[in-house]
């Protein structure tokens, strides 16, 4: 009985598969090719972002930033008198997909310009795709030093103030400027196996070791780690003065919570990424657990950099009062940088000229002035923030600080 049913179904399924396949091929064939726009036509900018998958949160924030930038540019008359159009694809936080996305954007959709995706992991392959197609690549969030060591001509240009290995510089300098009795003597470095997080902490560790701070714990944990209790416990057993955790988002939260679970409160705590997520961070770890945690960040809504106030205002209007996350601001800054290059060169036809222009010029953005080495690595100072009283404040450098005070020893550690 059952076999007969299956046999009757089989031809139907065959037919459906055939129809699907035919439809796919016809449909794909009918997606017409546009030729490049002449003046008057919009300028299309191709972007791939992780809107789903493990980087979906920052991915969505980046999209928000890009959209606000597009609105700003178009309201002010557009780019070279042409309206800007964003063509956004979801790469699902997957490297294979991001490459085929950019290939599709460049070759199929014939976009005029490109803007980058989120995370070093995705920007590494995406920038290679852009380079192969000889297009300028400006990226908001990929600070791994590796990205700039490949001798590319068309970028990639990183629109934050410093690459990963320099983002902790001001923090380390401050640590080493503390009086003898307040300086940390021992340090623990639990780090996520990630091309961004690793260089930040490794650079910090090298500098501190040279200055005599003893490393008592130094472990890399894989991306799939979800249970941080034993890691936190191992850190606790060494009782370090300083804990510097290289993290993205989830693992940063997980590790912080495990520290509470095992009942260990280091005197000084530094984490990459996670604490820069504002309310999401304090919700994740509990407000009282945020006190005194240091982090590195590229942007704050309170900064007085040119255009920032307007950006924050527009953002809050567009997104129901929500304050812009760091990734949104970085994306906006990328748009600004691209705009500056295009306006500086005066056309979009020569992508290499755009790249060279960026090498020779400084761009004023909501993150401050940005300038680059020939490799596309930025030259600048990253901001250092600290959670105080349930709020994320900027504490370094002094001229960008939103508060005068820096907590040197976390209250629970006393």
């Amino acid at each position: 009985m059952k076999r007969d049913t299956r046999r009757r179904l089989a031809p139907t399924v065959l037919l459906s598969v055939g129809v699907v396949a035919a439809t796919v091929l016809i449909g794909a064939g009918c997606g017409g090719d546009d030729d490049g726009g002449d003046s008057g036509d919009p300028i299309s900018i191709g972007i791939s972002l992780p809107l789903t998958g493990e980087f979906s949160q920052p991915g969505k924030a980046a999209r928000q930033g890009y959209e606000v930038w597009r609105d700003t540019v178009n309201d002010e008359g557009g780019l070279l008198d042409r309206q800007v159009e964003l063509v956004i694809r979801d790469d699902a936080s997957d490297q294979n997909t991001v490459v085929s996305d950019y290939n599709a954007l460049i070759q199929r959709e014939d976009v005029d310009l490109l803007l980058g995706t989120f995370s070093s992991l995705l920007n590494l392959p995406a920038s290679a795709a852009a380079e192969r197609n000889q297009m300028l690549y400006v990226e908001p969030a990929g600070g791994a030093p590796e990205i700039f060591e490949r001798d590319f001509q068309f970028g990639p240009f990183f629109t934050q103030q410093a690459t990963a290995d320099h983002q902790g510089d001001l923090f380390v300098d401050w640590l080493l400027s503390l009086p003898e009795n307040e300086q940390p003597k021992t340090a623990a470095y639990p780090v996520l196996d990630d091309p961004f997080a690793l260089p930040v902490i490794e650079a910090m560790r090298d500098k501190l070791e040279k200055a005599g701070v003893e490393t008592v714990y130094d472990e890399i944990y894989p991306v799939s780690t979800s249970n941080f209790d034993s890691i936190a416990n191992a850190v606790r057993s060494e009782n370090p003065d300083l804990v510097a955790n290289g993290a993205q988002f989830d693992d940063g939260i997980g590790f912080r919570r495990s520290l509470s679970k095992v009942g260990f409160e280091p005197k000084i705590l530094f984490q990459t990424n996670a604490p820069s997520f504002g309310e999401q961070y304090s919700d994740g770890v509990g407000v009282k657990n945020t006190e005194g945690t240091f982090f590195a960040i590229s942007h704050t809504p309170d900064a007085t950099t040119p255009g920032n106030e307007e950006f924050v205002q527009r953002f809050e209007e567009k997104f129901d009062g929500e304050a812009p996350a760091e990734d949104a601001a970085d994306a906006y800054a990328s748009g600004q940088v691209l705009q500056a290059a295009v306006e500086g060169v005066g056309s979009i036809d020569d992508q290499l000229a755009l790249a060279d222009w960026l090498r020779d010029n400084t761009v004023e953005t909501i993150l401050g002035p940005l300038e680059w080495e020939d490799t596309g690595a930025p030259i600048g100072e990253f901001l250092i923030g600290q959670w105080q009283g349930g709020e994320a404040e900027i504490v370094l450098p002094e001229d960008a600080a939103t508060t005068d005070e820096i907590i040197t020893v976390r209250p629970e550690a006393e």
């Binding site: 179904l9 065959l14 796919v24 809107l51 699902a92 070759q107 070093s120 992991l121 590494l124 791994a144």
Partner: protein, 608 residues
Amino acid sequence: MSGVGSALDTLTESRTPWRVLIAVGALALVAYPLVSDDLFYQNMIILSLVFAIGAVGLNVIMGYGGYISLGQSAFIGLGAYTVGIATTKIGGDPFVWVPAAGVVAALVAALLGLIAMRTRGFAFVIITIAALFILQIVAINWDSLTNGTSGITPPLPRWDLDYQNWPFYYSLVALLAGSLALSWWIRRTKIGTGLLAIREDEDKAATIGVDTPVYKIIGFVASAVFLGMAGGIYGYYLGFIDPIGMFDIVISVQIILAVILGGRGTLWGPVLGAALIEPLNELSNQELGGGNSRLLIFGGLLALTILLLPKGIIPSVRELLERRLRRGKAALVGGRLGARRALNGRPGPEPVRAGRKLLEVKGLVKHFGGVRAVDGCSFAVEEGTISGLIGPNGSGKTTVFNLIGRTMRADAGEIWFDGERLAGPPWRRAYAGLGRTFQITRVFGEMTVLENVVAPLRSFSWGQLRAGAVSGDDAKRAEELLEFVGMGEYRDQPARALSFGQRKLIELAQVLMLDPKLILLDEPAGGINPTLIARMEEMIRELNQRGKTFLIVEHNMPLVLGLCDPVLVLAQGQCICSGTSAEIQRDPRVLDAYLGEDFSLEEPVGVR
């Protein structure tokens, strides 16, 4: 309607239309980049080619061999990393290192094959999954070699942009052609037959001389070598090689899906499957938002295919067409028993050293949990005899056969055959001259009758593997044997269509193909009609006159007591008695254990 009908008939019977179709397709594939510069489609075809190479390769171990591997994407990763590491650390053009990628993949496949030798079915699948993830973790952690999660960026292609992706495209087309050629060649040689036999019934295959570990390793290596090279090219093409992207289990799932959907065991099925999978992949990435929809589509398609179309497209279409063709016709299989032909010509009667013990069993023991199925069993079979083995159910007869043939392992005891201690796996015993049939017949259902009889191997040699499966001397001999048992007309029937009795005849033919010295028959008369029983008896006598020794397990007393001398009696795992049929019928121990005191045959029988 009849026009369509006759068109369909042609499609079923003749291969030419299909060949034309394939030729046109191949031509289109090769010509495409020359006539169109649409890079989007080129990209899609390149990815389809990688899938196709993976699917054609997987088909060798899965379609032919029946071993499902969820780890094939590991070979893509291995290939990509080989090329990436070599070209960045040693230098040279990535294409130069592609053959090395194939070698690395082949070595790892051989290693995996060795490890998987002891596992079957489900356990094998699990091991392939574990291997994939372990390789991924090694790629992540061995960062001095692989650069860990930051990945490797191979150098950018250096050729003129006018040539676009041609080097990638054509090299992959060449690899696909190569892997198809390998698959086709395997199928038509003894390797293919061996793999099919393993798929249909691995233990039976072992007893007819198929050295299963060697075949499995060959199959596994064949599935990996072209895929490894394709992986090397793919990594170069993608421009970025990293552990997460290169050791992706979803790609493994897509490759399996391509094989199953297209039709496993067929030559072109995997290619068709790959051609369907990749556009679907693109569709879900580009139009349907990627990520979750991709998972939904492929997961759902995999589940639906297994439920509704487990055979795949090409076999199902073929079946439909063939069914149409055969409608209303009677099957060959239901006919009367064909005539037999006596053996002639074949290597003449062998000399028999009467009195010599051909088989000696000493103190065999086998437990199953607490049950002692065989409990210190000892007996001997003299050369040139037709010995019987009788005993009540549960006395251990079939288990003894299993132990002799090494389908099971004895817990204790020794088995001596032809003056040497028998040790080693079942196929070695087949090479030594031991053949056995099974109580519930085991034939290779999906193969034809002739293929079944050609499958057994008398010895192992690498040269032999390359020989055509159904051709040459072996095929002739197989046909003769089929005539001998009276199944000559059925040579092209699929074995699964045969009746129980017909299968017994086929099994006997298979055993004879081994040219064994000793033939173990497990209930040859069970479940068949008297005419066939008589024929069996005839054949056994004829073979015995030509020098073959028999050991027969039977419950059919008239047959045993008339045919066999001596008769061995097994009870409770031990041999309690042996002697002529007359002696056995009178022995009190035998009457007590088995025959019963009121046992008497209707006519007195003796050995003729």
